[in-house]
């Protein structure tokens, strides 16, 4: 019998035929089809046992048509004759009912650099393998008198985009992500891992970090709110970058005057450099965006200076420049998005980030971060799963989680030391992945 757990993705040739057929049959002036297929599974655990365990095969076919300057978009999650006719008709119907306006230009054929983001092991990952991973974490946690919670997921997918200008692009990718919170009677720890290849994720390794953190974070005592020097672990830095991307790194945010980015101006400390690079193999690379435009590296903040923002076809067209390959699926009034962000590592060994701090706070990660003031880049949130007091250069004891309200640019203006290593993260609350170092920040404000 066929192994039902090997990802069963549709053959590229069939996808190409489907796209060609759809483009051929469209009566629109311009037509684009975006196809996205996923075969994914996720095993969830709580209280040292698996309590939810799911898998799905799904497909999305999104069609954009432009006729007489009118645009229509429709989608369906089937790939058969009836679906093709239905989705095309609905897109054309919507277009016909619209007032004419300048359409968002479709991508034109151009070379793109293929990138490898595929792993056979991830595509073939079985529920038994995921259960073994979970068991490794739960056994260690139970052995330490603790309880483990978390999830491990594996996914194989493909994306194809074709349009009536002759573009046909196709990419297959896999992703494996594991995360865990381990709790004791009076505190918790957190760790996560992400990779293209599931065999790079080790339950023992994840367990070691999260259990160590949970053990050290028991019986936390409160300290006075106020402004402290802090060390942010990669989990917190990654989330901060995702919020910076959401608020400021998009050309649309700049065009609508709601971004904190003032190009050419110094916004952070000189040791801060942030960029987006969808082609970097140390991230989760993808060769093109959801509009079929090849991805380009964009330097966002370079040595503290705002140097660029990301563009999609609409925002690029408005400024008469090419897209940087950061478009989301049409129709997208929310603008482009930096989905593959990197922050440059510094020169300080991670273990030495606390040195020189007289009285400060170590933050493992943030929780429930929300925007307070977009233009001032102010966010609020809680610390979670491992907040520690630093005294005379050493972590001395766990402290109660606190609420922070802080400008991200002000925090990065006080980036005093940056770790010499980076970590890949794909399990944040926002889109995309980040590869970032841990860092030390001079002033971070806690309100309660």
């Amino acid at each position: 019998m066929k192994d039902v757990e090997t990802a069963r993705l549709i053959e590229t040739a069939r996808i190409k035929r489907f796209c060609d057929d759809l483009l051929e049959r469209s009566s629109a002036d311009e037509t684009e089809v975006l196809l996205n297929e996923t075969d994914s599974a996720l095993t969830r655990f709580a209280n040292n046992g698996i309590h939810q365990n799911v898998a799905e095969r799904n497909l999305g076919v999104r069609v954009r048509v432009v006729k007489d300057g009118r645009t229509g978009v429709a989608s369906v999650n089937q790939m058969n004759e009836a679906a093709l006719a239905d989705v095309l008709e609905r897109a054309l119907t919507i277009a016909a009912l619209q007032p004419p306006s300048e359409p968002v230009p479709m991508a034109r054929p151009s070379p793109h650099r293929p990138v490898n983001a595929w792993s056979d092991s991830t595509a073939a990952a079985s529920p038994e393998e995921r259960a073994d991973f979970v068991q490794a974490v739960c056994r260690k946690a139970a052995g330490a008198g603790l309880k483990a919670f978390g999830a491990v997921s594996t996914q194989a997918g493909q994306i194809a985009i074709a349009n009536s200008f002759g573009v046909f692009r196709h990419h297959r990718a896999t992703q494996a992500v594991a995360s865990s919170v381990v709790m004791g009677e009076a505190g918790s720890g957190y760790a996560d891992r992400a990779a293209i290849d599931v065999s790079e994720l080790r339950g023992d390794d994840l367990a070691e970090e999260v259990i160590d953190k949970a053990r050290r974070n028991q019986n936390a005592a409160p300290i006075e709110p106020g402004t402290y020097e802090v060390v942010l672990e990669e989990y917190a830095v990654g989330e901060m970058l995702e919020f910076m991307s959401y608020l400021g790194f998009s050309a649309l945010a700049v065009q609508e005057q709601r971004s904190f980015m003032r190009l050419g101006e110094k916004l952070t400390a000189e040791n801060v450099t942030i960029w987006d690079d969808g082609l970097d193999p140390t991230g989760m690379p993808a060769p093109f965006d959801f509009e079929g435009v090849p991805k380009q590296r964009v330097d966002l903040i370079t040595r503290g200076v705002a140097t660029g923002v990301v563009y999609d076809q609409a925002t690029a067209h408005k400024e008469g420049r090419p897209s940087t390959g950061h478009g989301l699926p049409a129709p997208n009034p929310d603008g482009p998005f930096a989905l593959n962000m990197f922050m440059a590592p510094g020169r300080v060994p991670r273990s030495e980030l606390t040195s020189g701090i007289k009285r400060g706070i170590w933050i493992t990660r943030f929780w429930y971060v929300r925007v307070v003031h977009p233009k001032a880049s102010i966010i609020t949130g809680m610390t979670r799963d491992g907040t520690f007091l630093i005294e005379d250069g050493r972590i001395t004891r766990p402290i109660k989680d606190m609420r922070f309200t802080q400008s991200m640019l002000e925090a990065l203006s006080g980036a005093e030391a940056i770790a010499d290593s980076t970590k890949l993260q794909a399990s944040g609350e926002a889109f995309g992945v980040t590869r970032v170092p841990a860092l030390r920040v001079r002033a971070f404000t806690f309100s309660s």
Partner: protein, 480 residues
């Protein structure tokens, strides 16, 4: 749909499932966005598939597929069963669902105008009229209006004999005006922010909002906020408008009374709850003015249905009764663990997700004090309206909310407009400081379309009935 469901249930039993259910769904959704005088986006999505949930060796397995065809059934069932067996290898305790659920029947959302029969041009024109009204106000830099319509046809069947069919229809809309300067961004939304106001109803629900009538006002308010003084910091009386009370209920009562959170089933992601089982019938959650009911029967609510996604009939359950914590939102599995039967709150975000405990319509019962009287009784305080930001810790205790608009209250009168207002607190302290809730005439059901939970992530559409409410000794304005 029924044939496929029957085939899946048979296959699951043959493969050794002690219990199985199948959900088949077909969802269509239309979204419109008008931005700065132009139709920025219209999309029309259709999504269908089926999901099979099985209990084997006391453990859960689930698999779903978009391929809605008989030939796909054996493979999906096989996958679900194999997953359940893998779960059983690392399972703490066998799942006990309690008594069987054998609901049968069908239900449709009552509506006047089917939103999918309303011409697109009528919808666009309604948004464009509101857009023009906002555009007439000098100083507005971004104007946006949006609508969403959903029709979800779903079938639920189980090996216990349940078979239900439901057709749920939603209609929603909102407008938003943004004003900016070099250093500031202020915006105002109507009827609500972060998504839109939405309900289970037809197009009449959107028409009743009268977007155009409110467009000029919110645009003027957004511009005025740019030059408004900063909300002061301090401990004072706060009056919240009904929509903000709705969000306060959502974050600080709805989520912590989800029994799966209490048992740690969401600990690694959405978090846990301070409302542990030892506090049931003991915790003085709020003042005597605070009674909160989970009501899956509220007309036009986003949390309204006839049966949940385990086939359990819709119910009304007190969570808080005159301040006392008296109930949870439960599922079959979790209710059993506290010796109860499910109160019917399990919902899945489509065929490809398992049902989770979700809020239904979690409503604060109306009180007796009109807003005008609440204001008149305040010497020194702030009135806050429409959510701008929200954040709360993983146990749902320590929160901070910000609103788009605020007014100072001095000597019983509404005074200056204030910007960047925030308030913070600890959940039971805050609700115990509630000394007035608005009357039925000021009570409204607020639809919330962005409630996230679960891994893989699921979005639920829920609702909160609320009236304006007053809270004493609240920490206000911590922003620099």
């Amino acid at each position: 749909m029924k044939d496929l469901a029957e085939a899946a249930l048979n296959a699951a039993q043959v493969k050794g499932a002690a219990y199985a259910d199948v959900r088949v769904s077909h969802r269509v959704q239309q979204n419109l966005v008008v931005k700065n005088g132009e139709l920025a986006a219209v999309q029309d999505d259709a999504n269908e598939g089926f999901g099979v949930r099985v209990l084997v060796d006391g453990a859960w397995g689930f698999a779903g597929s978009a391929r809605l065809e008989q030939a796909e059934v054996p493979e999906v069932v096989e996958r679900a069963v194999r997953i359940a067996r893998a779960s059983a290898r690392v399972h703490a305790e066998p799942v006990d669902l309690g008594d069987p659920v054998r609901s049968t029947g069908s239900y449709r959302t009552p509506l006047v105008r089917d939103p999918f029969q309303v011409p697109l041009s009528e919808k666009v024109e309604l948004l464009l009229r509101a857009d023009r009204a906002m555009g007439a106000v000098k100083g507005i830099t971004v104007r946006e209006g949006q609508m969403e319509f959903i029709r979800d046809r779903k079938l639920f069947a189980s090996t216990e004999g349940a078979l239900t069919e439901q057709e749920l229809v939603e209609s929603g809309a909102a407008i938003d005006a943004t004003a900016t300067t070099q250093d500031d961004v202020q915006n105002r939304s109507y009827p609500n922010s972060f998504g839109r106001q939405q309900g289970q109803a037809g197009f009449e629900y959107v028409e009743a909002m009268q977007l155009e009538r409110h467009a000029g006002r919110i645009a003027e308010e957004a511009v005025a906020l740019l030059s408004a003084p900063q909300c002061p910091s301090g401990t004072m009386t706060v009056i919240l408008d009904a929509s903000q009370v709705g969000l306060q209920i959502h974050e600080s009562c709805g989520h912590p009374t989800e029994l799966d959170r209490v048992f740690g089933m969401e600990a690694a992601y959405a978090g846990t709850s301070f409302m542990t089982t030892d506090k049931l019938q003991r915790l003085r959650y709020g003042s005597e003015h605070v009674s909160i009911i989970a009501d899956a029967l509220s007309p036009a609510g986003l949390g309204t249905f006839a049966w949940d996604d385990e086939g359990v009939p819709a119910q009304r359950t007190h969570l808080i009764k005159e301040g006392l914590f008296v109930g949870y939102l439960t599922s079959r599995e979790t209710a059993r663990r506290i010796g109860q039967a499910s109160n019917g709150t399990m919902r899945a975000d489509g065929w490809n997700r398992i049902p989770l405990i979700r809020m239904t319509n979690v409503n604060l019962e109306p009180g007796q004090t009109p807003l005008e009287q609440m204001v008149a009784e305040v010497k020194d305080g702030v009135y806050m309206e429409t959510n701008r930001s929200w954040s709360i810790d993983d146990k749902r205790l320590n929160f901070q909310f910000g609103t788009q608009l605020a007014y100072e209250i001095k000597d019983g009168k509404r005074g200056r407009m204030l910007k960047n207002a925030t308030y913070a607190g600890i959940t039971p302290e805050f609700w115990n400081s509630c000394d007035a809730v608005g009357p039925q005439s000021e009570w409204k059901l607020w639809g919330l379309v962005n409630c996230g939970k679960g891994q893989p992530p699921q979005l639920a559409h829920v609702a909160h009935g609320a009236a304006p409410a007053r809270f004493r000794n609240v920490r206000v304005g911590i922003m620099k």
